[in-house]
């Protein structure tokens, strides 16, 4: 038994302990200090796999869970899950450390906060390591739920609650769509294991359910990774406390979609559909995110849009890289695999610089009480360390040396240029346009990076607009962003180490067919290549646009508000409820008549269809006795009384008609020589008629309702229909002679019971037990009636006495 399972379950287990720790120690020690141990342990444990990963070994473990359905907690540690695991645990550590200073232990409900955070950490780790798609789905939804809880952490705020609801709705919708895709994959491959599916990739691609499965799974990935048009939840989610934004909504959870796409590249990749869907959605998102980010004035919202655009960038790269699987020859494929490598590299870089930026914005918010850049400015002197950290973060995002973003951005351009020359997937036509669009988005990225840096820290200080007096943050709060900034620079200089141990193994896990051939040269300087010229172009155009910003920013005002994604979302929700209400009003009227109409019509239709389709209508009267005159007369009499009930104007008439109908049945029994039945029926009829009359005496006067002639016609049609269909079925059943009639059994009456009267034999011999119990029931009922009457007398006396 490996240590892996116990260590990976520490987030869940320690979440159970949090309330105890909080209650016991909160007055003295911040709960975060205990929590800090959890990601630290996991991080150290994961590091022990570094050598193994670097040598391209993968690692499998299985723990049975629901073995009867083939659902096991199988984990698969390879390059891809490993790098994700490190980011989750590492960022987790930094975020918890940061939160110790950010979340006040006197004011906030820290127990809830850390429970949600640990829940998220555990599920996110589970998500990247499990091999079983159903367990993956389970963790997927758990991350959505914990994200919901964390966004709504300050639930007193109206915005938090709306944002939490929106994000949950969108991500759970995506998750269910992904589950549907997973089920399709299961139908194709008959397994729930991703590993086993990979070995059947060829077969999956030729299956007719391939495209639906791909689209459904992609919807799941796109909702989680905030791709256009599902991106609206991410800016709203910025209502969460900043440590949460830094952790979930930039570094980890929103990368789950990236993980999923990377993981399934081996199955879906190499087809033009996957290529275009993934890189197309990524590119649109990249553009949408950077165009929207430029006009933002709230720092966190700006960062959210920039996250959307960066996620789009990574998605584009994954799409481009999947083309490598199209080629059979390893050399050709390796050219495009640069894109995959770049995707993973940029994913890592994004986690570092965006995490750093979020934490600094959190510091600004914490110290100054605002994140609005219209109120900020000139903080350079007051918060020099924060300024330096922002400098590193934003320039890395803008793709400036000597920061890690520069390297991955260069690779991004290189991958685009490679792809533009690709002979497949219509790329000869579209390649250049793609490259230009991506370049344009990078220019905008550069612009908003300058906005973050310059509008906050340069220019005039506007102290009078602030609630608090600005000052540098405490040391503790600066540690985490400082570590991230150090990484931003460290990765730039030591990129060889990172690619050797982390990035290339991860890239090869995405594209296993290319393993061993991924020799990617990451260089800070490779002469005046096209990539470098593109970067220089970005800087020049970016500075130009930044200077002229006030001129062109007005263009945004011309965009109609009604067409923004948010208002479309609201509109859709409104229409959905409206439609539902209309359906409800339409046929849930509350009127029993309507209900009966629907039910009876349905019965008529189904029964009629069944009888017609099966050719079941048959009347076999050959064995029936001849109908006598008396029987006919009785029948006509019964029909007459039944019609009288319908047409009766007064209640009394109706009751008497019903009674008459019953008495006519008595005559039938007499005709067929069943005197005991006749007698019983006579008594029952008499009693019911009397009871009816007694009841009606207490009821209010019958109100003559005027029923519209249309309703009457419908009533008539439906009731006649029911009568007809039942009569037809009964008559058809009469023709059945599939087994011997039971009447011969009663010939035993004389032989076995020695009775000349069959009825007597039935009552006392064949069904003696029944008769006894019937007598018992009658006795009990009689007692009941007697008691009631007695009580009534007693009540009457009391009334008199009163």
């Amino acid at each position: 038994m490996s240590w892996f399972y116990p260590i990976m379950s520490t987030p869940f287990l320690s979440a159970l302990l949090v309330p105890l720790l909080y209650k016991r120690f909160n007055s003295r020690i911040h709960t975060g200090w205990f929590i800090l141990l959890v990601p630290l342990t996991i991080f150290c444990h994961l590091l022990s796999y570094v050598r193994m990963i670097a040598f391209r070994k993968t690692f499998n473990l299985t723990l049975p869970w629901i073995p009867s359905y083939g659902i096991n907690l199988t984990v698969n540690i390879d390059g891809l899950s490993f790098i994700f695991g490190l980011i989750i645990a590492g960022m987790g550590f930094l975020v918890v450390l940061y939160s110790i200073y950010y979340m006040s232990r006197h004011k906030e409900a820290l127990d809830n906060f850390y429970i949600y955070l640990l829940l998220f950490m555990g599920s996110m780790l589970g998500l990247v390591f499990v091999d079983n798609i159903l367990v993956l789905y389970l963790f997927w939804e758990l991350t959505s739920i914990s994200s919901f809880l964390l966004i709504a952490f300050w639930f007193e705020r109206q915005n938090s609650r709306a944002a939490a609801g929106k994000s949950l709705l969108i991500t759970i919708f995506g998750g269910l769509s992904m589950l549907a895709g997973f089920l399709l994959l299961h139908i194709i491959t008959d397994t729930y294991s991703i590993g086993a599916m990979m070995s059947q990739a060829e077969m999956i691609r030729s299956h007719s359910l391939f495209i639906p499965a791909m689209i459904l799974i992609l919807i799941g990935a796109f909702t989680k990774s905030a791709q256009f048009p599902f991106s609206i939840w991410l800016p709203a989610a910025m209502e969460a406390p900043t440590p949460v934004s830094a952790y979930l909504h930039s570094a980890t959870m929103v990368k789950a979609g990236i993980y999923l796409v990377a993981r399934f590249t081996i199955i879906f990749g190499g087809t033009s559909e996957w290529f275009w869907l993934v890189s197309g959605a990524g590119l649109i998102t990249l553009l949408y995110g950077s165009i929207s980010a430029v006009k933002q004035t709230d720092l966190k919202t700006l960062l959210a849009y920039s996250t959307i655009s960066q996620l789009g960038l990574i998605m584009t790269l994954l799409g481009l890289g999947s083309a490598a699987l199209y080629f059979d020859s390893i050399q050709e494929g390796a050219i495009y695999a640069i894109a995959t490598f770049a995707a993973i590299f940029h994913m890592l870089n994004h986690s570092t610089f965006k995490g750093c930026l979020f934490m600094v914005v959190g510091i600004i918010d914490y110290e100054l009480g605002t994140r609005d850049i219209k109120r900020l400015g000139g903080l350079f002197h007051l918060m020099p360390i924060s300024f330096l950290l922002t400098l590193a973060g934003s320039l890395a995002m803008a793709g400036f040396p000597p920061f890690n973003g520069f390297l991955s951005k260069e690779l991004f351009f290189a991958a685009l240029l490679n792809a533009a020359q690709m002979p497949i997937f219509n790329m000869p036509y579209w390649g250049t346009i793609l490259a230009f669009l991506a370049w344009f988005a990078s220019v905008l990225t550069f612009v908003y990076c300058l906005t973050i840096l310059l509008k906050t820290f340069m220019g005039r200080a506007r102290g009078h607009k602030l609630k608090k007096k600005p000052r540098e943050a405490s040391m503790g709060m600066l540690i985490s962003p400082f570590i991230l900034a150090a990484l931003v620079i460290g990765i730039f200089f030591y990129h060889q180490v990172f690619s050797q141990y982390l990035l290339i193994p991860a890239g090869e896990a995405v594209l296993p067919t290319l393993s061993g051939s991924m020799h990617i040269e990451v260089k800070a300087w490779h002469g005046f290549s096209t990539e470098l010229l593109m970067t220089l172009g970005v800087i020049a155009a970016g500075i130009l646009l930044y200077i002229t910003m006030s001129q062109w920013l007005r263009i945004y005002n011309y965009y109609p508000m009604g067409l923004t994604l948010n208002s479309l979302y609201e509109l859709f929700m409104e229409k959905l409820e409206g439609g539902s209400l209309a359906i409800t009003k339409g046929f849930m009227t509350g009127s029993v008549r309507h209900y009966l109409l629907y039910i009876l019509t349905f019965i008529i239709l189904v029964m009629g269809a069944a009888m017609l389709l099966l050719k079941g209508i048959s009347f076999d009267s050959s064995q029936d006795a001849v109908v006598s005159f008396y029987e006919l007369a009785l029948l006509l009499g019964m029909i007459a009384t039944a019609v009288t009930v319908l047409l009766a104007g007064a209640r009394l008439t109706a009751v008497i008609a019903v009674g008459a109908l019953g008495f006519l049945v008595v005559f039938f029994f007499v005709l067929f020589r069943a005197p005991d039945l006749a007698l019983t029926q006579l008594v029952v009829e008499t009693v019911t008629t009397v009871l009816f009359l007694l009841c009606f005496y207490h009821l209010p006067q019958l109100r003559k309702e005027s029923i519209p002639i249309g309703s009457k016609a419908v009533n008539a049609v439906v009731s006649v229909g029911v009568g007809m269909i039942m009569a037809v079925v009964a008559l058809s059943a009469n023709g059945l002679r599939s087994f011997a009639p039971i009447s011969s059994y009663y010939e035993n009456a004389y032989v076995l019971a020695g009775a000349k009267n069959i009825v007597n034999a039935i009552l006392v011999d064949f069904r003696g037990f029944d008769t006894m119990l019937e007598i018992l029931v009658l006795t009990l009922a009689g007692l009941g009636v007697y008691t009631l009457i007695k009580l009534r007398w007693a009540g009457g006396k009391e009334d008199e006495a009163a």
Binding site: W65, L169, I583, H594, V729, S738
Partner: protein, 473 residues
Amino acid sequence: MGYLLLAPEMLLTVLGIVVLALGLILPQRGKKVTGAVAMIGTLGILVVVFWQFGYEAEFFQGVYGIDAYSHFFRVLFLSAALIIFAMAGNYLHLFSERQSEWYSLMLFATLGMIIMASSGDLITLYVGMELMTISFYILSAYLLDDGRSAEAGLKYLILGALSSAVMLFGISLIYASSGSTVFAVVYQTLQAQVVTQPVLIAGIILLIAGFAFKIALVPFHMWAPDIYQGAPTPVTAYLAVGSKAAAFAALLRILVTALPAAHYNWTMLLAILAAVTIITGNLIALAQRNVKRLLAYSSIAQAGYILVGLAASNVYGFKGVLFYAMLYVFSNIGAFAVATLVETQSGSSDFDAFSGLAKRAPMLAAIMTICMLSLAGIPPMAGFAGKFYLFSGAIQSGYLWLAFIGLIMSMVSVYYYLNVSRLMYIGKSSEQSVPVPAMARVALLVCLVGTLIIGIYPQPLSQFAEIAIQVLY
């Protein structure tokens, strides 16, 4: 064990009568004792059932039989009744001096359900069903001063009588084509016949229609919302959980042991009914603004999901039916329990009454949310495991489209279930706290733990259901 195996049924009858009698004998102040007697008695009977595990026997030539399948449903009904007794607590003050009769009727309804699940004969089944239904007619109308409660009772009576008539007609047609009402004999007779008889098919359709009413399948669902809203909330909870499970139990037993799908293709009819039910139930539930009504519509949809397992007509699907019926006890009663407590405090079950519940009663809001997530089928709550069994059964039988309709509609259901959660966590709150009596606290805790445990570790319940299903083959 012989006739001792029938001890739970007999004890339940005796308990019902004793509770009724106690209500007559005891003075006004002492009537609370009847509730305690009913609860302790039910718990005792549940223990007896557990003790009888593994034994089986057949009585009166197959008319009634106790087997693992019966044990499963006995546990289900008795636990449901027990949880509802515990949660009802304060609500019963609305019934003033008629509490003991309420307990007694609930016990008789439970007896009816148990008989339905264990009977091997159409007539016995019918008698059990009437015992249950007649008890519910009275229970629905139990709030004498509330016009809606009376309306609920009356509507249930009128529509219920119709459905009984339809069902009896179906039974008589099945009898006409097979010569018996005992499942095993029906099976043997029909096995020997080569030709499918239209009259028999008509009988099966009418029989299913009768059950469809009890289960509230579209288009037989109309009664459900009015009655669920009008009836006292604990009764509604039992109606939604117990009555449905009983109808499913009986239907499943008949379809498997008397009318196997191989011969009479009823699966398509059930699949269509399930699809229509899931779609209609969910779409209507979207716009509801009253929690009880919302739960009523959603429980229509939930019945549709269970029916998917029946339509699948393989071991997976059937197992799913049992599994879901059991988890439904915890999740749905949990939701109803919270609704009951809120209603007792505020006198209303409209959305407004739940606004900001998280601040007034965080525990209640959390339990409601977890139960609703379970009903929506979100892991790691029990509902996900249940839906997984049901849908994978359907997929195996080739009803992929049905599984997809179920999935898509689950997405829709997330919206309205979460609407309630959002309201509880987000809405403006009044200052009144919601009192939770000790017994209700226990009931809530059982529901919560049940929902979570079944979701996280479904294996034991899954095995229990599998053992129960194996008996039928």
